[in-house]
Subunit: 333 residues, 6 copies
């Protein structure tokens, strides 16, 4: 019986010029949908898990099409809420070598940003779930979204469901009157697994001395939030827009585990790689020991760099093969 993950967050329409065209060259946009949390759910589904996503879409053909995208990629969508007028959106121009990719968001006033706690019955949503995952983007969007997220976490705690949070957030996203320092700790408090970075731990919680490394900071985080069992990080070395290196790190309260560096020499699509890591981590922690789990997460993350779109739709076989060290990408017949 496969395990089930539930995620919650905004799904945006992603519009990107074909190939390496810049915005000023485009006469069409490639259309997919994506959002940090749904990306995680879809990755998990492709790995063989059951997965449902909760979000809110406008009640029109665009909102329906977004739902259909989630259904196509194996998600349960019976808890999608319809209402509001605008679909959250982002425009993505893909860079290469020294030229950065550029992202322009249009998510103010979106259907999701107007979500209210009363719109979701979390007991119903989570009743057969094994894992709930949230990110630091959701509470940044609106007070309603933040409250929904907290409700979900509390319900998960009550039902004995594991909770993970990918807590990174950007200051400039918080426009509704609260700061991330005010809101995120309340969500982390009840989470079991935290994905973050050294800078994240310092900025968000004010922890750490200047000389502390990630392991030191992770320890302090667990001291501060005793419910947290694992603190995880993905190190990215950005050699160019076309070439990254990835390494996973995990502190589980006892052991500090680092994966080998994976060398992604020809990036196809860099977006959603963090979500692929999170999904790999969830799958990994549910099916492997910690050292393998972090290897699995890193492999999943590396593979996403070669898949167009936001979501990591590689197979379990692909991830296991890379996790076990086959970096050859040799053709499969």
């Amino acid at each position: 019986m496969p395990k089930k993950v539930v995620t919650f967050g905004e799904v945006m329409m992603r519009l990107s010029p074909p190939g390496y065209e810049k915005f000023s060259q485009a006469s069409s946009f490639e259309l997919v949908y994506g959002g940090g949390e749904a990306n995680v759910a879809i990755s998990c589904a492709y790995l063989g898990m059951k997965a449902a996503h909760v979000t809110r879409f406008p009640d029109n053909a665009i909102g329906k099409a977004a739902t259909q995208f989630l259904r196509k990629h194996w998600l349960s969508t019976e808890h999608v809420i319809y209402g509001g007028d605008m679909m959250g959106k982002y425009f993505l121009e893909k860079g290469a070598v020294h030229r950065p990719s550029e992202v322009i968001y249009e998510r103010e006033g979106s259907a999701f940003s107007l979500i209210e706690p009363s719109m979701v019955n979390w007991e119903e949503v989570l009743k057969d779930a094994d894992w709930f995952h949230w990110t630091g983007i959701t509470p940044a969007i609106s007070d309603g979204a933040a409250k929904c997220c907290l409700d979900a976490i509390k319900t998960a705690n009550k039902l004995g469901i594991m909770v993970s949070g990918d807590i990174n957030s950007r200051d400039n996203m918080w426009k509704y009157g609260k700061t991330m320092q005010e809101v995120i700790p309340g969500l982390v408090k009840n989470s079991d697994v935290v994905i973050t970075s050294s800078r994240g731990i310092r900025e968000m919680f004010g922890l750490g001395k200047p000389e502390d490394n990630f392991k030191d900071l992770a320890k302090q985080l667990i001291d501060f939030f005793p419910n947290v069992k694992k603190v995880v990080k993905k190190t990215r070395r950005t050699l160019s827009a076309s070439h990254h290196q990835i390494q996973g790190k995990l502190w589980n309260g006892k052991k500090y585990i680092k994966t080998d560096m994976l060398n992604i020499t020809h990036i196809i699509d860099r977006v959603g790689t963090g979500d692929a890591f999170a999904a790999g981590l969830i799958y990994g922690l549910l099916h492997y020991k910690d050292n393998e789990a972090i290897d699995f997460a890193s492999a999943a993350c590396a593979l996403k760099h070669t898949v167009p779109g936001d979501v990591n739709i590689v197979s379990l076989d692909n991830v296991i093969s890379l996790m076990q060290g086959d970096t050859s990408g040799a053709i499969k017949r």
Copy 2:
């Protein structure tokens, strides 16, 4: 020396599934830009006039790309204002035969809707213009847009520039606290040419007895607004989404002129056909007598049904040829 037209209004990004795909089938969108007033300016430019458009776009690569679209289609864009975050947008699904085209708007909170009168120096903008054109959509968008529009009309009056208004508006667009009945008459009062319909005259101004036809109503409109010299209408017979018939009608205070019916048997793109009519009317009134002007306007309108996108980019030759009765579309080598 060509005549110059200036227009003012929102330009939206138009996103449409390729061909006859429905929204639920699209994996890409065709991308053009359009808006009632800019469509008029561009049509006029293709006919050989000088043309400038005033609008407001977000100050990012998307807003720049929209400006570049206007420049490409021959408009002067030195009076485009940059600011705000969101590009107005509409999604268009193209129908056929019994299946209607469907349009979904996303224009709330757009850069243009936040325009303020202080942002435009109309004396500067209009200094070398011969004609100013507005539509009933602009004052519906926001109080700022309505005020800007009124400023433009008044400045045009002061500078002795002709003013035309395509005054049709939809009740459900007026969301900022005023009704069209409160705002539109103030704009019509100072206009020289009014494009409208029988229903428009009745609803907007409360004129007319039940038995009055368009000619009767047009007369009453001129009685009511003595500055108005011509009242013009385009009758559309919608046989199916693929087949329309078009006829122009004009009352100039003395004569009531009707064109022949034009039979558009294979529609390529129905959007912007009213704007093509308005542009044809402006060009026509500047270069022909009234009876030819309305023929020219109808021909321009008919031709737009066969051009993809919002804007009528046919040549002056094409319009003249159809206006003179050549409906054969015979290949030009």
Copy 3:
């Protein structure tokens, strides 16, 4: 609570040259999936019903992609069976005016053709269904498919579920040793609603005198199979590959009902229009009286001619609007 329809049959990969290209011109194929019965289920889903489809796909990424197509278009796919090596396929070259569309099938040895009765638990599949629909194509494919179909019908009878059959079949499809005259009657015997044609009734069951019309033949069919309550036909007048006319006819044992002729002047995609009719009939009979049901079916059928692909994905609103006589296809904003 929406009604639920279950369908059973092969779903093929459909490969077609873009636009009006002929096979010899294509350097790419547009890819969708379709099959008579799944087309019906998807149509019903877009109209608001619950819908599940039972079929068999190869257990590889192609089979998964086919399932994802069904999921995207709202079907329940939990009863899809995986096994075998080959995906059934058809190539479609789209004609126009005097040039016929051409279809080339490759379905021999497909995963579906190797289906066996033991692979489906019909009691489980049909447990919450209101309607089961089959077509004359399925029993033509293989003995296993025919037996599965009979099992489904019998289970539906047992569970008190309505059964409809669109019984048309082509002689040259029957290659496994049985004729349609041997197999189809056994399936019709237990069906409630039969969609067929005059020629179908004559050829399949040997009924009718030369001078009998459809109404006469329908009566005889009901006399012959007393379980059948309604005999339905769609008349198609093929003026050219681009222009058809459609009329629905229904005999319900008491009344002979004919719809108005619908005139489809600009065909976009002619495939799947019969399935759209069947879906419309199912929805119609579940929600309307017979005379409205056949109007609904004809309207649904007419609309499909304007939708690319095999499946009729128009909305309930579209069908109702056409059924009520609005043939204008006027743009919806």
Copy 4:
């Protein structure tokens, strides 16, 4: 043993904006190749004949690609000559309804225009041919092309090969110092079959009284050129760019034959339809009696209007079916 046709003339690269885009909208061009005479050869090849084309292409990858296009469409290309720098070209913008298609030629200085009689060994080229076909375009291009064409005709006469000429030409094409009235008669003199129009006969040869109809003119043409056995014409009624009607007429010295009018209600590509007629005529005269031959030619012509590109690649079955009166375009499975 299939009959063999040989043709001679320029093949141009055809560049057209996708769909109904105008030149000012295109960001890509669809690429095919075409030219009146090669179009005829390819049509004949698809009907089952052997066919070779003689032309001259630049000796680079573009010239090779043009040859490959001819090879793909079944022509023998062993007599293609390579040399010169420029590929002849035309740009095609596709019109609809009242909007004309527009063609822009760039053929001055092309590789073909620099052809010289010494470059072709006609005895070798024509040794196993049954038919040679030329058009009035070739002698207009250059003195060298005209001389090559005359050589070909004379060689064909010597070898007892039938010669047909589609003699229409446009005055404005003749730029190298000779007029069509000076050159064409010398070519017609040795031809067996002439495709022309009433205007063509009047303008080219100065024949006819004002009141003469096509039959009268055809008679005079045969009187004037006793070698000519058949004079053929295709009447086109241009209702709009999307809707034409076609009728074939043939005078064979004894009988005047007219086909039924074929009604092409939804034109896909109007270019090359005259060439399809010529090819149909050649095939028809080689395989049928005159009255069927002209029916065959008209059917082939009508079908070309529904095929994208310059060349008529429909099957023999398609033409026969339409020639026999099946205008339904009913789908073939």
Copy 5:
């Protein structure tokens, strides 16, 4: 006078999602045709040789289109046989970096697999050939295909034509009751040039001691099959799906020759690179000494990695330039 190569084998339709899309993302397929032996023939044709391919296609528009693909790429196709119903097919999903390309075959029951020796007259086919090439795939497909292949080799021997075999085969392809060990040796016995690998020699013929290297094994192969004059191998180092290294090795009975390693840092299409090597070897052995021949083969192979599709369509100049050490890929104007 160019040399002529003849090849024999299945040609499949290749269907691949655009760019780096995975199967689950595709809404269209790019369409080309390919097969090991035809790929060799086409490569040779682009290098300037004459080339013919013998295969069997279904007798429908798809089979014709496949033939047209071969014709376009310069092959003689007069010996293509038509019959059967199904086109062999493969689906290709293109990988990158750590993500493998994936291939799904559908070739059971294909037109080619049903080929019988009586269908080909090899004396006629090979009458003006200089070289015959076969691969280990063909005898794996069916007994008929294996027998045809043996007939071809024997006829070539009789006519004094050189024979090369690229003998690699995959165990899991042999489904008709014979093993590769039973069939391949009979074909190798009469071949002059064998392309294989160390593993191939061990598995196929049971030769070699554990410590033997390729040179040792090649010697033993020639001892075993005295007709074989050259044993050739291509070493591939798979750094990732995007980066391979290639080296050619040749034993000619006297000398063991190794080329420099070629470093293909940005792979565009990895399929058909072995066939490009074989074609390069054939051209090389016909036009150069052995040490240059293997350099030529390796250069041809390396270039194929940068050409989309199955076939190596680079020019002779390109291969010579790389063979002579110019790895710069500097732009040619």
Copy 6:
């Protein structure tokens, strides 16, 4: 107030097969426009300068479309001249790794090549300019073009406008009776900034001893042409078609400055990179000191390798960021 640059030269239509297709595979061409000098003007415009380009296009829809391309990319086009029949053209096939890109020109007889000095009023054109830029391609095209170029330079001198020349030229372009050695020196004499190479200085002016390096040659050039203030060079190391390295070098009469080597590991489009360098140099010399100017030029050049098309449309921010050493291409949100 932004500085204004004016450029003069041919703009060609660029036609390229999609992606990495070779000419023989293309069924469509991607369409952009480009030419060395206009590329420089457009780059400058994207960096924030005012920019105008003077050229000549055919007076038809193709010439208009070319103008619209320039307008879209922010150029002033009021001095474009219309006349002549043919658009200059080049075909570009994009290579990778060891496979060279290939370019085929068709520019003989183009509208631009027929330009005459009397067609341009340089005093008017240059009246508000700060910089005039020319290249060694223009004087190679025709005597008229060379004379126009000289007129422009002299007028610039008269008006005190800076003049730069990118003087590289190819011998085989000079077909109208003069050599580059006869014409270029006259243009260089009046220029302030010269972009060239060691070989260029040797070949064009006969300067230098065998052992002289670029710095030595640059000194001699300035001695020879005292008006020249800066001699600049871009060194390119071509590791493969996919991987280049770039370094800028500048001699300003006093100091010899070399930039760091920029490593472009994944080239998207190599065309126009020299023009991007020239534009960067112009912007740099106008806004920075020499050492920064050459850094800016190199950064602009490097970025162009990652932008499809001829023109460098990156933002000022992108260039500054790379010039300051951020080679990471990290995503911008």
